[in-house]
């Protein structure tokens, strides 16, 4: 039995996405920019996906821009905004637990002379609205916070922070990396108070290589990729019709079941935690109110060794974030998970299709690993 429990890293494409992909690859292969009907049909496929995705977050069709993935979306959000407004306002505020595509981009922008502030959770592991507000000032251009942390599943109080920011500083642009939250918890642009939102295709059972950035009408962004004026000039380059179509089809499939899947995965998490509570030496790093899709635990054995032990039995999990390939990201430390617990942290990330049998097998293998692996 092969058990895939690394869905925060990537997900298996759903049949609907694959079908849309194949259709675009084999039949609808025109260039959306071509004036003839083959081009028009390709454009219609892109328009369709755009409409579905816009609808799924309560945005206007004209506010969705397709990119090559959430890393590009995050880059475009930060670099594009600083490019447009950075001369007057040079400060960026982010949380200290952002994904590398935010963290590293901000580091690069710092090297260009922009100022960055990283807000950490307090000792209780929680983020406080006032910590962000106190960092904001007239020079602040953008506040960027992720909705759900990819390593621990923490749900950040983005809505409250953005509401407070907008109330005090309506000019500040708010950006939310929703990659781990999209299609798992309801994401609405209005209630989130977000001017920009990054989305990824392959985390929601579409294909790797496509993402989107929501940019609220009226917010200016300087493109980081220039060329043939696709995506209204915000992101040039021939649209990947197959990937975009697949993205749209996956969203179409999953957007109506967000709540019921959330409940189901909450049940799975509860089941998993109950099983784990019967094993000595395991600590749970994800807070109770975290997204149930991600469960971060420490089992006392070095993460990488446990991961390979599991892999020998065809169980696929992750140590911390998949993007950091074994490198420590520092995010766990921010949440107060240090020393041995950080070194032995494992991330189990589920979908609504995960079964209790799979979790049983995982728990059994974990118990075995804890016995057999020598430190």
């Amino acid at each position: 039995m092969s058990v895939y429990l690394d869905n925060a890293a990537t997900t298996k494409p759903c049949p609907e996405a694959v079908e849309a992909l194949m259709k675009a690859v084999t039949e609808n292969f025109g260039n959306p920019s071509s004036l003839h009907r083959a081009g028009l049909n390709a454009q219609l496929a892109v328009d369709r996906a755009r409409k579905i995705i816009a609808g799924s977050i309560g945005a206007d069709v004209g506010e969705i821009y397709f990119t090559s993935g959430a890393t590009e979306s995050n880059n475009l959000a930060l670099r594009g905004t600083m490019g447009a407004y950075g001369k007057r306002k040079n400060k960026i505020i982010i949380s200290a637990v952002e994904h590398a595509s935010i963290e590293e981009t901000v580091t690069a922008l710092e090297k260009q002379g922009f100022e960055a502030v990283r807000i950490s959770p307090r000792t209780d592991g929680k983020f406080y609205v006032e910590d962000f507000i106190n960092a904001c000032d007239e020079k602040t251009c953008i506040v960027s916070i992720m909705l759900v942390n990819n390593e621990t599943g923490h749900i950040l109080p983005v809505k409250d922070i953005f509401m407070a920011v907008k109330k005090r500083f309506p000019e500040i642009i708010t950006h939310c990396d929703c990659v781990q939250g999209y299609m798992k918890i309801p994401v609405r642009v209005k209630s989130l108070n977000a001017d920009m939102i990054s989305l990824s295709g392959h985390k929601i059972h579409a294909i790797k290589g496509v993402g989107a950035l929501y940019i609220r009408k009226g917010v200016r962004v300087v493109p980081i990729v220039t060329g043939g004026y696709q995506e209204k000039g915000i992101r040039s380059g021939t649209e990947s019709v197959p990937l975009i179509s697949a993205f749209g089809s996956a969203v179409e499939k999953y957007s109506s079941t967000i709540n019921e899947r959330y409940e189901k995965v909450t049940g799975l998490k509860k089941y998993l935690l109950e099983k784990l509570s019967k094993i000595d030496g395991i600590s749970i790093n994800s807070p109770e109110n975290a997204s149930p899709y991600v469960v971060n635990i420490s089992a006392g054995k070095r993460s990488e060794i446990m991961l390979h032990f599991m892999e020998q039995r065809e169980i696929y999990i992750s140590s911390g974030s998949a993007c950091s390939k074994g490198q420590k990201s520092g995010v766990l430390e921010q949440f107060g998970i240090t020393g041995k617990n950080a070194d032995s942290a494992l991330r189990i990330s589920m979908t609504a299709d995960t079964t209790t049998e799979e979790l049983d097998f995982f728990v059994e293998t974990l118990r075995e690993g804890m016995e057999k692996i020598r430190n």
Partner: protein, 392 residues
């Protein structure tokens, strides 16, 4: 805590014995517009419509955004329903307005007591509630002239209502209360704005568009259909008539002097439009013309066009500058679609030097070079109808 949306009428409050029919039309329009959002109870009393959500998770932001585009409404607001009891009003105000008041610096309280039997008079309500809010929110001071937040308490027949926002409505008269008219929709910036403006006066809009493939493309037609869809936010459902126009344009090109091309084309467009109006019971034509904007919109050219018209032609943009028109196009979100660069039928075969001041006699003579009647009949027969409803 129960939250509802209060809708205050626009100029229809001035209507005398007809007021009820306007009110019914407005209620009907609101019902249709909100249908896809869930179940609502919609009632009217004292020149106000009450929209009460009956389902749990209704997005009231979306409700106000949609209702804000319905004509016939002067203003609207989300409000909290209270008992007609001052302690309940106070308790609900503190809870309901907590977010907005804790972020503000200045405020005032405004009271409206349409139920004169209520034991406190308006100034008393203002003073009492104002005092309590001042005490609870140390960040606040009173500013009666220019407050950041105006807390309004309305004492009405069955309940009291508290709110702190006042959204400007779309104004005008309820769509449908003035009858039906046919909009000539080209795909440019002006015609959607003209449609919007007439809908604001209560006119139910149908639209007509002329296509000339291969001179015009599928994309050009789709662009116009998109404009129709956008207009439905304001105009409600739109019957869209698409007229095949290639043969007529080629016939004008082949048989009439070049400098009269546009004016003859417009006369034929008007003729076709009013024949469809007769079938569809539309009482007038609407165009986006503005005097002097282009050669076909000089007074002489308009006179030549109007000579074929048997029903009134409304030109709501006639005295407006392009910049003013663009401002409205942006407001109603048609501008970006309108400027998509696809050739429409109006720019096909445009003469290099059109007659700026054509004389009717010359135009008629030029048009009489060829018998257009069979082609006009054929175009009317082959006109396709498509219906657009509210975008969801």
């Amino acid at each position: 805590m129960k939250e509802i949306v209060l809708v205050k009428y626009g100029e229809m409050v001035l209507k005398g014995l007809n007021k009820k029919s306007f009110e019914d039309m407005l209620t009907k329009n609101i019902k249709r517009r909100l249908k896809s959002l869930g179940h609502f109870k919609i009632t009217s009393a004292q020149s106000t419509t009450y929209i009460t959500p009956l389902d749990e998770d209704i997005d009231l932001d979306e409700v106000t955004s949609r209702v804000g585009k319905i004509f016939g409404i002067a203003s609207l607001c989300r409000a909290c329903v209270c008992e007609k009891d001052f302690s309940d009003i106070t308790a609900k105000s503190l809870e309901y307005l907590n977010d907005v008041l804790s972020g503000a610096k200045t405020f005032k309280v405004n009271a409206k007591r349409s139920d004169k039997a209520f034991h406190m008079k308006s100034p008393e309500i203002c003073a009492e509630l104002g005092g309590i809010l001042l005490e609870k929110f140390p960040n606040l001071t009173v500013d009666v002239k220019n407050p950041e937040v105006t807390v309004t308490v309305e004492i009405r027949d069955t309940n009291a209502y508290v709110h702190a926002e006042n959204i400007k409505g779309a104004g005008g008269l309820p769509v449908g209360s003035s009858g039906k008219a046919m909009l000539l929709l080209s795909g440019g910036i002006d015609s959607p704005v003209a449609g919007y403006m007439m809908a604001k006066r209560g006119v139910h809009i149908s639209a007509i568009h002329y296509v000339s493939p291969p001179y015009t493309s599928d994309r050009a037609l789709m662009k116009v259909e998109q404009l129709c869809e956008k207009l439905t936010d304001y105009c409600g459902g739109i019957a869209f008539f698409c007229v095949p126009f290639t043969e007529i344009q080629e016939a004008i090109k082949d048989n009439c002097p070049e400098e009269y091309f546009t004016v003859i084309m417009r006369r034929i467009m008007m003729e076709i439009a009013q024949r469809i109006c007769e079938k569809e019971k539309c009482l007038a034509l609407i165009t986006g013309e503005s005097v002097g904007q282009v050669a076909s919109q000089t007074m002489s050219a308009i006179a030549c066009t109007d000579a074929v018209c048997r029903i009134p032609v409304f030109r709501p943009l006639v005295g407006m500058d392009k910049t003013e028109i663009i401002d409205i196009a942006r407001k109603i979100d048609t501008f970006e679609t309108s400027v998509l660069p696809y050739e429409d039928c109006c720019t096909v075969f445009t003469p290099r030097h059109p007659k700026v001041k054509p004389l009717l006699a010359d135009v008629e003579k030029a048009q009489n070079n060829f018998d257009f009647e069979p082609l006009i009949q054929k175009a009317v027969e082959n006109t396709e109808l498509k219906t657009f409803n509210y975008t969801e």
